[in-house]
């Protein structure tokens, strides 16, 4: 699991799932909040498929935080307005990047969160799959008409 993957799992986790570990490590790891949690905007861009050009869809509200742990700065960017989660994530990322002994606890939590996120996605996929459909053309297929049913 690389650091980008750890970052993604922590940022996408439920705040409640990381707050306990963050609270515990906050008291034993020396750290400094470099930049308090702040609201920021990210302009979301997408590639459209007609001419394959990029365009601005709209902005996303995020909360970011920067926490120094040793020589590294842990950075977080979480969706929406969520100061507590941003601060927790920045602390955990700082400890993880600084490779302190406590980082093992973070990796352990991240593995649990990864399973949780995957099973949530798997469940959503299975729910959605129950609505998979194959419409039939009314009156049956006329062999004389070339249907565009198949790509």
């Amino acid at each position: 699991m690389n650091k980008e993957h750890v970052f993604q799992i922590l940022m996408e986790a439920d705040g409640a799932d990381i707050s306990q570990l963050a609270e515990q490590l906050r008291t034993i790891v020396t750290h400094r909040v470099v930049r308090k949690p702040a609201r920021e905007l990210v302009m979301f861009q997408a590639e459209e498929s007609v001419e394959k050009i990029d365009f601005n869809v709209g902005e996303i509200l995020v909360t970011t935080a920067h926490v120094r742990v040793g020589e590294v700065i842990g950075f977080s960017m979480v969706m929406d307005d969520n100061e507590a989660k941003a601060l927790d994530c920045a602390l955990l990322m700082g400890i993880y990047e600084a490779q302190l002994p406590e980082a093992d606890q973070i990796v352990k939590l991240v593995r649990i969160l990864q399973d949780k996120q995957m099973s949530r996605l798997r469940e959503e996929r299975e729910i959605v799959s129950s609505t998979r459909v194959n419409f039939e053309v009314m009156g049956g297929q006329d062999p004389n008409i070339k249907h565009n049913s198949e790509l």
Binding site: E40, Q45, E47, D54, N56, I60, S149, L151
Partner: protein, 371 residues
């Protein structure tokens, strides 16, 4: 004559503000929780997110609560709030093949790779009011599941890409130098760059976009498409990490995407110069789950590509200036403000005309009497 403002009325205005709060709460009951609005008014929140042009379910829910359920006013609040927050970065442009789909249908082809999935849709249900919801005290939903082994992050190829492979649609090459126009930072001048048109359309007011799209179907334009694909799902939000300088994913946003196959036109291959007939495409992508708007957007996107507009729906200025909720509601609402001076001027004019007419009439009757 320009608008002349008024002053005064401070106390009455402040009291009116309080009165709004009073009317919001006067019937008592339990105050709505923002989380309830966010979770149970999903489509309304999506509308505000899209028109407010800010992906924040929480802020949208608060705005909706504050405005007593007026989505247009709520979007206005969201846009105002948005202007107070600094923009610190752009996301890495995402391709919709990466979408985690919860709905995907095609009205062009019966069988498409990965299949058609109805997902959460009311399209095929009867429009009957479920009165039992009045007595709902808890949720008891347990949707059926179907085992699915497909990879969760596997990209799902698009229907139009199959048409491209068959040479029935142009296959443009991406220009790596292209930078999207940003209508929130750059002035709007016509003709607008296509990326700017798409940005303007995606934040347009749902009803206005729908009405103009419908007008095209009814003949006030020439676009009447077949839907290649409607996709609803989650797209990843990726940014460049400020310290690592590598792409990282910070979360997901729900979007609706539509590709509409429009009429075919004569096309010249830019490399070979060969002429052939190919389908044209219209594109729609909006924040949240809003298929009507995304379909209408795809119609308008195509209609606005017209080089020589022959109808209002093909006129960029006509469409793009009138679909924005802030501008349209702002201009309509300003009519409620005191126009005493400008109206007084109109009153003076009409009185003087009337006086002149009376004068002429009196002169004429006097002349008649004299004769």
């Amino acid at each position: 004559m320009g608008y002349v403002g008024v002053k005064g009325g401070k106390d009455a205005i402040l009291n009116a503000e309080e009165l709004v709060e009073y009317y919001r709460c006067r019937k008592g009951g339990t105050p709505l929780k923002v989380s309830q609005i966010e979770d149970q008014m999903r489509l309304l929140i999506d509308k505000i997110i899209s028109e407010g042009s800010l992906y924040s379910p929480r802020v949208s829910a608060i705005a909706l609560k504050q405005t007593e359920g007026d989505p247009m006013e709520a979007s206005y609040l969201v846009r105002a709030f948005r202007s107070t927050v600094p923009r610190t970065c752009f996301s890495i442009p995402v391709k919709s093949e990466e979408m985690f789909l919860i709905r995907r249908i095609s009205s062009s082809f019966q069988n498409i790779p990965w299949g058609q999935v109805i997902g959460p849709s009311r399209d095929y249900a009867q429009r009957l009011i479920r009165f039992e919801l009045e007595d709902e005290t808890e949720f008891s939903v347990d949707p059926p599941k179907k085992h699915d082994e497909s990879e969760l992050d596997e990209p799902v190829e698009k229907v139009v890409d199959y048409l491209r492979k068959q040479g029935l649609m142009q296959n443009p090459q991406k220009d790596p130098e292209q930078k999207p126009y940003d209508i929130t930072r750059q002035p709007i001048t016509f003709p607008l760059d296509r990326s700017a048109r798409l940005q303007r359309l995606t934040r347009g007011e749902d009803g206005a976009v729908l009405a103009f799209g419908y007008a095209s179907l009814r003949g006030w334009g020439s676009v009447h498409p077949t839907i290649a694909e409607v996709r609803v799902g989650y797209l990843p939000v990726k940014i460049l990490h400020p310290y690592w300088k590598t792409p990282v994913t910070v979360g997901k946003v729900m979007v609706t995407e539509v590709e509409s196959i429009c009429s075919f036109s004569k096309t010249t291959d830019p490399t070979t110069g060969e002429e052939s007939y190919m389908f044209t495409l219209g594109y729609g992508l909006v924040f949240g789950h809003n298929e009507r708007k995304a379909i209408a957007m795809s119609i308008l996107d195509r209609a606005l590509c017209a080089e020589h507009p022959t109808s209002p729906i093909e006129d960029q200025e006509f469409v793009l200036y009138h679909i924005d909720n802030m501008e349209s509601q702002g201009f309509i609402s300003h009519l409620k403000l005191p126009h005493y001076v400008s109206f007084q001027s109109a009153l003076d004019r009409i009185r003087s005309i009337a006086a002149k007419r009376n004068e002429t009439a009196t002169d004429a009757s006097e002349e008649k009497e004299h004769v």
